[in-house]
Every structure is written in structure tokens, then in C-alpha cells.
Symmetry: C2
Subunit: 228 residues, 2 copies
């Protein structure tokens, strides 16, 4: 039985789908730099070079991750609410998906136009900015900026970069807070006074809510100002 692993179970055939899925899992647990052709092959009990039947190169594998995530962003067919609500809605949907896969999130911005799913999200964002009445020459750039900014919210969340393990994480937060608190208040008064909030985000949900509001409010304001 050449196609069975040590448990005698039939060895699952390799597929793009399966590889992308385990690549995302690997990024979730160990970070994007752990996503490696060789480690992926190992997890599937297969030679490293086997992956090249399914992906032209590693870049295409990463494209596959981005596409898989973007497919999870539902673009509502029959949305309700005015454009600011709808814009906030589509951006918030992206946030929800990417918060579940923070390490892979950084793959998104450069790949928004590289898959049907990414194009659907982009089309919706462009349409809403058009409805808002932004100057035509500003719509494309602003859409790409908004989508990029939403992704950067994940990386900028205070307390990301620290370990995931709870206990280990608490230790790291304590150390970091101590370091920031010990900085000279003469030079850095505000950093010192906000040391706690800079080290760890007490309320991530509100962090995301508030910053989404900042973006939508900013667009509303600029849409209301006729080209100045």
C-alpha cells in the first residue's frame, strides 16, 4: 500500500486547497516566516519539490493564501444603509477575517487586484467612494489606501508582536511596560504616561471600532468638501 501513512490511513492527495489551508494554519501558529516550501511538504509527508506541481513558485502559494482569505470576506449583494454605513460594513468585514489570521494579513494589500475575490472587494469599495462623491481622480488611490489602512490596523494593534501564549505574554507586557515607564519623562512625557496602553490593548474590539470610525468620518468630511 504505497498511498497510506503509518496509521494505515489513506494518504490524502496533495492539492492547492489543502496546501493553502495548512499554510494559513502554519502562519497562524508560528508566523509567516514559518511558511516554507519544505515545512509544508513535510506536513503533507511529501517531497519539497512536489509542491511545484501545484504552484509555479512560492509567490503563487502566497497569492493562494491571500485569495483564500479574501474569499472569506462576504460582499453583501443587497446592502442596506447609506454609503457611510456600507463603507464601514465592508471594511469591518475585512477586519473580522484578518483578525483571525493576523500573520497572513500583510499578504493582502499587494494582492487586491490579483484574484476575483480581491477584485470584488475593491469594486465595492470604489463604488461606495464614487457614491460618496469623491473627485473621480481621487477614488482609486483612496480606495487602495483605505484597504491598506484596514490591514495595517491589525499590525498596529498595541500588544501584537508579543507572544501568543498567555503566561509568556503577560511577562513580556510587564517587561515592556517597565521599559517604557522608565524612559525620561522630560523628553517623552506622553509615551511614559501612556505606557500601559502602548504595551497592551485593553479592549481590541473598541480599538477596531474607533479606528474604522476615524476612516469613514474622514472620507465623509472630504466628500463634503468640494475640491477646495
Amino acid at each position: 500500500m504505497p498511498n497510506a501513512d503509518k496509521d494505515g490511513q489513506p494518504k490524502a492527495r496533495l492539492s492547492r486547497e489543502a496546501l493553502v489551508t495548512s499554510a494559513i494554519a502554519l502562519a497562524d501558529t508560528e508566523g509567516l516566516e514559518a511558511v516554507t516550501v519544505r515545512r509544508l511538504a513535510q506536513q503533507h509527508s511529501v517531497a519539497p519539490t512536489s509542491l511545484y506541481w501545484h504552484f509555479r513558485d512560492k509567490e503563487r502559494l502566497l497569492d493562494g493564501i491571500a485569495e483564500h482569505l479574501l474569499q472569506q470576506v462576504e460582499v453583501p449583494e443587497h446592502p442596506d444603509g447609506d454609503w457611510p454605513e456600507q463603507l464601514r460594513d465592508i471594511l469591518a468585514r475585512i477586519v473580522v477575517v484578518l483578525r483571525a489570521h493576523p500573520a497572513a494579513a500583510q499578504l493582502i494589500p499587494t494582492r487586491l487586484l490579483a484574484s476575483p475575490a480581491g477584485l470584488a472587494v475593491t469594486d465595492r469599495t470604489l463604488a461606495l467612494l464614487k457614491e460618496a462623491g469623491l473627485p473621480a481622480e481621487r477614488i482609486a488611490g483612496t480606495a487602495m489606501f483605505l484597504l491598506g489602512a484596514v490591514v495595517s490596523m491589525i499590525a498596529a494593534e498595541p500588544g501584537r508582536q508579543l507572544p501568543q501564549d498567555k503566561e509568556e505574554r503577560e511577562d513580556a507586557v510587564r517587561v515592556k511596560r517597565a521599559l517604557l515607564s522608565a524612559l525620561p519623562p522630560r523628553n517623552l512625557p506622553v509615551v511614559v504616561s501612556f505606557a500601559d496602553h502602548l504595551c497592551d490593548c485593553a479592549d481590541p474590539d473598541t480599538y477596531y471600532d474607533f479606528n474604522l470610525d476615524v476612516l469613514v468620518a474622514g472620507i465623509a468630511r472630504m466628500a463634503a468638501t468640494p475640491s477646495r
Copy 2:
């Protein structure tokens, strides 16, 4: 003469400063993935392992790049204008520095609290959000988000990712525009109609100006709404 290169010129001694500088140059011309311990060593006619005298590991070298860039962001000692003007000013100063080094820009967000220069920029941003009257619990998270969003503006600029060489770049733009224009307008009407602006940013200066305005206007709006 053991310390002279083939031109007989005295070989410059290795230093953190010199290594960081050429690392940035390498990132500028060939991208961040070209910044490699071994290539850097080669450029300085030195064994790869020599770098480890000056940097504990590659991560520290990247920290050095981020710090070097952040040092170029001048934080005005005696700023004038109201807080929205000052906030826009500090964010715009970051943009100016990072536009000159777009490949290295992505190193910044995770390292804002890791150097005196980064801390100075962060302190100023925090101070301005405080002056704006944001709720205290939102200031730290919003500052990190703003600084991250400014960095993501560089990566999100339409037409980045394409080659730098002018002729080669024009070809790439044509191809990409053709691809987007050929998409089914039934599904993606707005993407198709904005194909041109999505492929290439006709006016980068205005792109940055406008999106900086979006951010500052958004903050102003949220500061004016008392916690709802």
C-alpha cells in the same frame, strides 16, 4: 598592505553606520529581500560572519535601518498652528522620508517604540491626539494606527509593486491596464471604469495629500464627538 583593496585605497573599516547605510541603498534598488547578511558582507569585501561583531543578528540590522529612517523625521521643537495642522505636519514628515525608501518603510510600524527617534515621533503623535481631546483610552491605539496607516500609504500607492525602470514600467502598466479593462463589466463595473487609476498613480503628491487629509479630518470628527 593588508588593509587596502585592489585600488590601493585604504579599506574603510566596517561599522554599524556604514552597514545600515548600504543596507538601505540595497533595499532602495533591489528590494528588502535583497538585504542579506552575505550580500552586505560582499559589498564591504568582508566575510559574512564579520557582521556579527556589529549586530547581534539580522533582526538588529533591520532595527538599525528603521532607526536610521526615523532619525530623518524631524520633530519640530516649537511647532506652530493648531493641533490638526501639527498632526498633519508630523505625518507628512514621515511620508516624505519613507517615500524616498519605500521598500524599507514596512520595517517601521513594528519598531516605533524601539528607538529614541521612534519614541520621539510617537510621543509627538500621542501629545497631539491628547490635545485634540480624544478619550484617554483611545489615544495610544489611535496613534499607533495613524502611524501604521501613514506607512501603508506608501505600499498602497497605485503603481507601486511595478518595476522602477521607466520603459519596463510603462510596459507593465499597459499590460495590467489591459487585464483590468478586459474584466467582465457585469461583475466589476467600477474596477473596469477605474482601470487606469488603479494601475498607475497619475499624481502621487496629491494622492498623499488627500489621504493625509482623510486621516486628520477623521480624527477631528471623532474628537468633536464626545464619546457618543
